[in-house]
Each structure stands twice: as C-alpha cells, then as structure tokens.
C-alpha cells in the first residue's frame, strides 16, 4: 500500500496563507480545571441521561412492567446489534476527519453475501464469515484509496459506493428475501444467550473493547486523532497520513462486514435492502457520543452510550404506546441535537479564550 498524501506538493507560500496564530493575552485555564465539576458533568451528562431515561421508563406505569424486564433488554440489545457495530465502525474514519456513508450498505451487502453463499452455493459458515470480513475490508479499501490516493471527497465517494452496493444487492437478490439454506448453526448462535443477554451482544462488546483499545491505546489511534486535528501538521511530524486514513476506512469496512454476519444471525434472512435504516441511527449514536466521555472528539465509549441512549429511548416510547413514526422522529432529533451539540462544543473548545 503506497502512501499518497505524504507526497503532496508543497503548500502555498506562507505569505498567501496569512493566518499565523494570533497571540491571546491571557493564560487560559480549561474549563475543566477551573470548575472540575463542570468538566465532569459534561463528560458524563449523556450517561446520566441514559440511566435517567431507563429509570423513568422503568417506573412509568405505561411502560414500566415490560420495559424493565430482561426480555425487553434482550430485544433492545439484540435488535441494535448492527446499529451498534456500524456506529463503532464509523468512529474510525470520523476520528481522522472523514465520514463514511457506505457502512450501512456494506453491512447489508455482507448479509446478502453470507446468505447467498450459504443458500445458493452451500459454502460452509466459517468461509462465509471470512468472505464477509474480506468484502467489508475491500469496500473500505476502495473508499480509502479513493479518498487518500485520488483525493476524492469522502462524502460523495462513500455515498456513491453505498448507492452502488445497494444496486448490486438488488441485482443479486432480484428483490427477493433470501431465507432458505441459512446455516442453522448461525441461527442458534444468533438466538442463544450468555449471562441472560444475547450472545451477539457479547461479540459487539468485544468489538467495542478492541475498537476502544485501537483508538485510545495505540499509536495508530493517536495518529488518527492527530490527523483529524491537522493533517498537514501530522504529515510534517512524520505520521503516515495516507496509510493511516486508508487503514481507518479498512478497519471500519471490516467491522461493517462483521456486522452483516451478526445481523443475519439475528434475522435469519437477508432482504434486498440497502442498509440506510441501519446507518442513520448509527451516525446519531456516534455524534451523540462525541458529546460525552471525551467531549468534542469522536470516541468509542461515548458512541456505545449514545447508541444505548437512542435505542432504550425509542423502546420506552414504543412501549408507552407511541406510534411507529416516533422512532424515526426521535432518531432524527437525536442526530440533529448531537451534531449541534458537538459543533457547539468544538467551537467552544476553540474559542475558550
């Protein structure tokens, strides 16, 4: 894999830039240090809110009995498997400053690929899983190469890849749902439980821990945060910007591929769907997550809390008798509020002077 952005032409001469840092006069103490409680509140507000909403729906007479039951927790966690995985996947490119809209479609394509291989070609389960992961990684690689080597706009590129994948899914399935010949092992895996919770949730948890470790505890993750902060500076301190960004897309594609297998194990069938319904709640979770734990930055722990917040809120509302339109409306509002909040937090970080 060659490094592309490292060979970019020398930027414009400095006199054309005209934005040397302006020296502020005072020594500024971060808000967290002046008011430790405020920083703490900012960090854990989303977690507290999530717990609060869960408590509310647990005691609310309309939803209480069902909401607090273990089976409802199972339904919510199991149902959110793919969304959680896609949310975790989306964090990687976002940290490096790029968005990946193709993750939902990658997951959908991975479901169709696994189902198709099993029902039409009798491929063993393990090979299917490998195929799905490889496919996810390849989609990530295509995105990564387009963005880093050819300098294409990630927004449009990944949207294009998503549309393309949606079309291929439609062609492959002929618009039909694939439900025959799905490995029973996979079905059993999808419906069995560990410590009272869905087994797939345990897999998601493992992936989340791995992603957290990669992003916050390795030079790779720290490089991504540096690249997201200033790609030019990153290049000039010797970080391999192109390689790292490409790797971020590949990592996220692979996770999205895995998400497809997990989702198939839950649903037992693959529909001719392009995965948009999975992507947007996931993005809402990621942007909500950027307001928590490490405010102003995309982070895995915040993302998981964000996903739980959205899914338990929707579950509670549904159980309280809200109509079916409430869920997308809630997701939309959550996404808007999250983006607004993280933009505001970012702006405040920059101008906290």
């Amino acid at each position: 894999m060659s490094v592309s952005t490292d060979d970019q032409p020398v930027p414009a001469p400095p006199e054309a830039e005209g934005q040397a840092a302006h020296p502020p006069e005072l020594l500024h103490v971060p808000v967290e240090q002046r008011f430790p409680l405020l920083g703490l509140a900012e960090r854990y507000a989303l977690l507290v809110l999530t717990v609060g909403i869960c408590l509310y729906f647990s005691v609310s007479p309309k939803s209480g009995d069902v909401f607090a039951s273990l089976s409802n927790v199972n339904v919510v966690l199991g149902g959110q498997t793919a969304v959680l995985m896609i949310a975790i996947a989306a964090v990687f490119p976002l940290v490096a400053g790029h968005i990946d809209f193709s993750l939902g479609a990658t997951t959908a394509a991975s479901m169709v690929l696994a189902a198709g291989l099993m029902s039409r070609h009798d491929v063993p389960l393990s090979a299917c899983v490998v195929a799905c992961l490889v496919m996810g990684a390849l989609v990530g690689l295509v995105n990564g190469v387009a963005v880093t080597v050819f300098g294409m706009n990630p927004f449009v590129t990944t949207l294009g890849v998503a549309t393309l994948l949606g079309g291929i899914i439609l062609w492959y399935t002929g618009g039909q749902t694939i439900f025959q010949g799905i490995s029973p092992e996979l079905r059993v895996f999808g419906s069995s439980k560990v410590a009272g919770l869905p087994q797939v949730t345990a897999v998601v948890a493992v992936v989340a821990v791995l992603a957290w470790y990669l992003l916050s505890q390795t030079p790779y993750g720290r490089s991504l945060y540096a690249i997201g902060s200033n790609p030019v500076s990153a290049r000039l301190v010797g970080l391999r910007v192109g390689r790292n960004v490409m790797l971020a897309f590949v990592t996220s594609g692979t996770i999205a591929g895995a998400a497809g297998v997990l989702q198939l194990s839950r649903t037992g069938s693959a529909t001719a769907d392009s995965g948009t319904a999975l992507l947007f709640p996931a993005l809402a979770a990621v942007f909500l997550g950027a307001t928590a734990i490490r405010p102003g930055f995309f982070n895995v722990v915040g993302t998981v809390i964000g996903a739980l917040f959205v899914s338990f809120s929707v579950s509670g509302l549904t159980l309280s008798g809200a109509d079916s339109w409430v869920s997308p409306v809630f997701n939309g509002i959550a996404l808007l509020v999250a983006v607004g909040l993280s933009t505001w937090l970012g702006a405040r970080r920059r101008s906290r002077q």
Partner: protein
C-alpha cells in the same frame, strides 16, 4: 519628544485626542488583565500600542472593539465621553472605531467589490436586483483613493498580500471616504504579521500616507523595526498598566524593548558565543529543484547557520527538501558522513532531522489537542506498551518539557490553541528538541512571537546547538540571523551565493547585500 514615564492624564490629553481611554480595568477570573490602563491617540497620527504577551494590549483592543466589557473605564472619541463597562461592538462602530484584524476577514474567492458590499450593503434597484455598475463605480473610487491600482472585480485571492490588507483597510473605512472626514479611527491588530518583509514595507508606506492625509491609526505589532519606521507616538503596556507614552518620538528599539520588558535590554540578548565543533554534520552538494539550482552548503555539529535570501529564493524549499517533504531533482546530501536521501518525512525522522515550519498554525499545530498530545506526537511508539499508551508518562515528560522550555501554560492538559504564539512556538520546539536532533531545520522560528518569548527561543536554539545539533535557520529578519547564527548563507539565483561570518556583521550591511541580489537578478532579466 516628550517622554511621560507613566499614564497620561486623560483630562489634559483627552481634549485634543481623536481617541482617549482612561482608567481601563478588566479582570478575568483571578487575573487582572488591565489595571487602570490609559491611551491617548492624537488625530492624524500612527499610534503604536506595544507590550509583551500578557501585557494587556490585545485585551484593551478587544474591549474597544466591544468583544469584552470592561470592569471600569471610559472612552472619549469624537468629543463624546462614554462608559466602557457597557460598550458593545455596535457602540464602537457608531463611535467611528474601525478594526482590521490579522485575519483580514475577506472572502477569498469573491471580488473586491463584493467584499465591500458585504460590509456596506449592495446597491439595489427595485426588485432587489444588484446594481453592479454603481457598486463597481463606487468601489473603484475608494480604491483610487487608496492608491490601489486594481479592478474592483478582481477576486481577493489574486491580489498580492499587501494589497489584500490594504483592501481590508479600505473596506473598513469605506463609509468615511467620499463623505468627508468623519474622524474614523482605524485600529490594526498585527497588520503585517503574516506578510513577507517587502510586502509589509509596501503596506506601511501606504499606511503612512493615509496618516499624512489625516487618518488616525492605532497599530498593534510585534515587529519592532516596522513599528519604529511608521509610528509617531508609542504607548507601552506592561502587566496591564500603561508604563510609558512617547509622543512624537524616535526611540531606539532597545529603549522600547526595555520599557516592554521592564529590564535592561542587554539581559535579553542571546548569550554565549559559537558552539561549533569541527565535525561536519551535514553536507549538501548541488541540491536542485523548484527555485534551487544547485545549492552547496555545509554545517558543523553545534553550528547555527542562517539561510538568508529574498522571498522566492528557496529558503523554505531547501529546508523542506532536507526534511524529505519535497524531492530534489538533483544533488547529494550526506549526514554525519553517510548518504542521506529521505524519501519522505518518516525517513528524515529516523535520520534524526527535525523541522519547524514557518506557518505554525497550519503546519505545526494540533490546535484542539492538548499540550501533552502535541509534545508526544512524534514519539507515540515510545509510550506504547502491553497496557496501551502510557498517558501518565506522557504527561510527566510533558510537564518536564513545559518547565524546561519556559512555556507558560495551565498544565499539560490545556489545549495547544489556548496558549499565546510565543508559548505555542516553544512547545513546537520542545516537541523536536526532546530527542536531540542531529539536524534542526527552523523556518522563521520567531514569527508571530513576542519579544520576550523570542529571547527564550533564541536561548533554546543555542542550547540545542551546544548539545551538538547542526541548526539551519531560514529567516527574513536580518537582526534575527545576526543575533542567532554563526554563519549566514545567502541564497541567490538558486545557489548558496555568499557565505558570511555573522560576528561583527552589521544588520544594514546584510540587508543591503540581500537587496543587491534582487537588483542583480532584475538586471539579468
């Protein structure tokens, strides 16, 4: 010349002043940023507002602009005495104050006329269609008035840097021209900070002419030589107080620095002679590419070599090639006797080469990351172990560096962008110097840095040389090269044309040599 070592009595001065401020006090939390500061600006003069970082001069400007509200203080402008505790941006505009900041606030891709119109409104006919002809006509008049020989339809990014600043100034003052002198006061915050030397000279000449035509200008700048060349009066702030007001004066740079620092200027000069050894650390032969056409250059371990040359002479290109960020077309480089051919920046890092670019904000900073993150970014691997990143050690190392390099910061968790320019530059230097580079490449190391931090930075660079680094310093500031370097190499026509010993060299001689090279170049063409 009248030197008033202390605040001017606002009562006596205020009557004739175009702008006067008295009793200005502003507190941020526990910090007293301004403590009974005062300022009196005579009409039709260029008034320099000086002070080191933390002296309160920027805060004073922000209070006048209505960004911050003062805790106490009064302003008198255009004959009206007003309270600064409830002073807003609209009040400032209404009173006739016009601000042009370092970031000019121009829309790069749009034309001059459109930029003017966004400030003053588009002339429209009924039905809200824009009357372009009338707009262009009006803007052309203003531009003529400001001796800007450009078409109003020219996009901003096609203007030379000095003209951009002038356009921003003309835009700020556009409602004054044509309708007589309304006594607008122009406040310039670091107008030349991002301009190359010849561009800023051009700008200052034009500015001087505006003042002679009766424009009152208040100017904040770190570049002492420029301030001295253009200003009539000087007000020096220190620790939030007005420590001196010099009316119609011609002080020396040393005298001003002394007032700003509150100590004798000798202490501020870098100390220690050369630390050059006899070992050749880096040797460049025939390096070509871009503006370079075969540069030969040697630097000894412990030696500081200045790279001088006019804009476009390839100073930055040379450093970037040595850092592997740009491939040379031809040439050989040896580092400690071994061939050195970096294909990219990581190669240069492995070879022990460090580079501090000129554009700190755009190319060296991670503004929204912490100071510790900014310091550890070049050596992330060394903090990584089985248990992940050792953040505690990162912060321990960071704290040690912050104190070693005299960075004034609220701990290593503070954001990089929360520091002043001088402290940011110290952090960037500390990032590289913590690993004792074999070759240290510095491009304009004190740009946008206040006088006080500059002294610390010079000392830091000397110390790096003493520890054995070969240092190449590219700078457009002749006095900086003379204060810092052992030898100075002049780049001319793509070659290292002349090598001078810095000791005993006069800044004017160096400047003249540099300018002469441009004359020679022009004659050839």
């Amino acid at each position: 010349m009248t030197l008033l070592p202390g605040p001017v009595s606002a009562a006596t001065e205020g009557a004739t002043a175009a702008l006067s401020v008295a009793g200005l006090t502003k507190r941020f939390g526990a910090t007293l940023a301004l403590d009974d500061a005062s300022l009196a600006v005579r009409p039709g003069t260029v008034h320099a507002l000086l002070g080191g970082n933390g002296s309160g001069k920027s805060t004073a400007i922000k209070v006048l602009a209505g960004v911050h509200q003062a805790d106490a203080g009064r302003v008198r402008i255009g004959g009206r005495d007003q309270d600064l505790t409830s002073w807003s941006a609209a009040d400032a505009r209404e009173a006739g104050l016009r601000f042009v900041h370092q970031d000019l606030g121009l829309f790069e891709g749009l034309s001059i006329a459109e930029n003017f119109a966004f400030d003053a409104g588009f002339p429209t006919r009924s039905g809200a269609a824009i009357r372009w002809r009338s707009l262009h006509c009006r803007v052309r008049e203003v531009l003529d008035d400001y001796e800007l020989d450009v078409d109003p339809r020219t996009p901003i990014n096609e203007l030379r840097p000095a003209d951009r600043t002038m356009v921003a100034i003309a835009r700020a003052l556009q409602d004054a021209s044509g309708c007589g002198d309304r006594g607008l006061v122009l406040v310039l915050d670091e107008p030349t900070a991002s301009l190359a030397q010849h561009e800023s000279a051009l700008l200052l000449t034009k500015l001087r002419r505006r003042a002679e035509l009766g424009q009152t200008v208040v100017m904040v700048s770190h570049r002492m030589a420029e301030v001295l060349s253009v200003a009539d009066d000087f007000t020096v702030f220190r620790d939030g107080r007005t420590v001196a007001t010099l009316v119609d004066a011609h002080p020396t740079e040393d005298a001003l620095v002394e007032l700003m620092a509150g100590r004798a200027v000798e202490e501020l000069r870098p100390v220690g002679g050369t630390t050059a050894t006899s070992t050749v650390r880096v040797s460049v032969r025939g390096l070509a590419g871009g503006p370079l056409r075969g540069v030969d250059l040697d630097a000894l371990a412990g030696e500081i070599v200045g790279i001088a040359g006019l804009v476009g002479s390839g100073r930055s290109t040379l450093l970037r090639m040595l850092f592997g960020d740009r491939r040379p077309d031809a040439g050989e480089v040896t580092l400690d006797g071994r061939p050195y051919r970096p294909r990219d920046v990581p190669d240069a890092l492995v070879a022990g080469v460090a580079y501090v670019p000129e554009d700190r904000g755009g190319e060296a900073a991670f503004p929204d990351l912490s100071i510790a993150d900014n310091l550890s970014v070049t050596r992330l691997r060394s903090y990584w172990g089985l248990r992940g990143m050792n953040r505690r050690r990162e912060h321990d190392v960071g704290r040690a560096l912050v104190s070693d390099f005299k960075v004034k910061a609220a701990g290593t968790t503070a954001l990089f962008s929360s520091m002043s320019g001088g402290n940011q530059q110290k952090v960037v230097l500390a990032r590289w110097l913590q690993q004792d580079p074999a070759l240290l490449l510095l491009d304009e190391p004190t740009q946008g840095v206040d006088v006080m931090s500059r002294v610390d930075i010079y000392a830091t660079i000397r110390e790096a040389a003493r520890r054995g680094s070969a240092v190449l310093v590219a700078s457009s500031d002749a006095s900086e090269l003379l204060a810092l370097c052992d030898r100075i190499v002049i780049l001319r026509e793509g070659r290292a044309d002349e090598v001078l010993a810095a000791e005993g060299l006069d800044p004017d001689v160096l400047t003249r040599k540099l300018l002469r090279s441009s004359g020679a170049q022009q004659e050839e063409r």
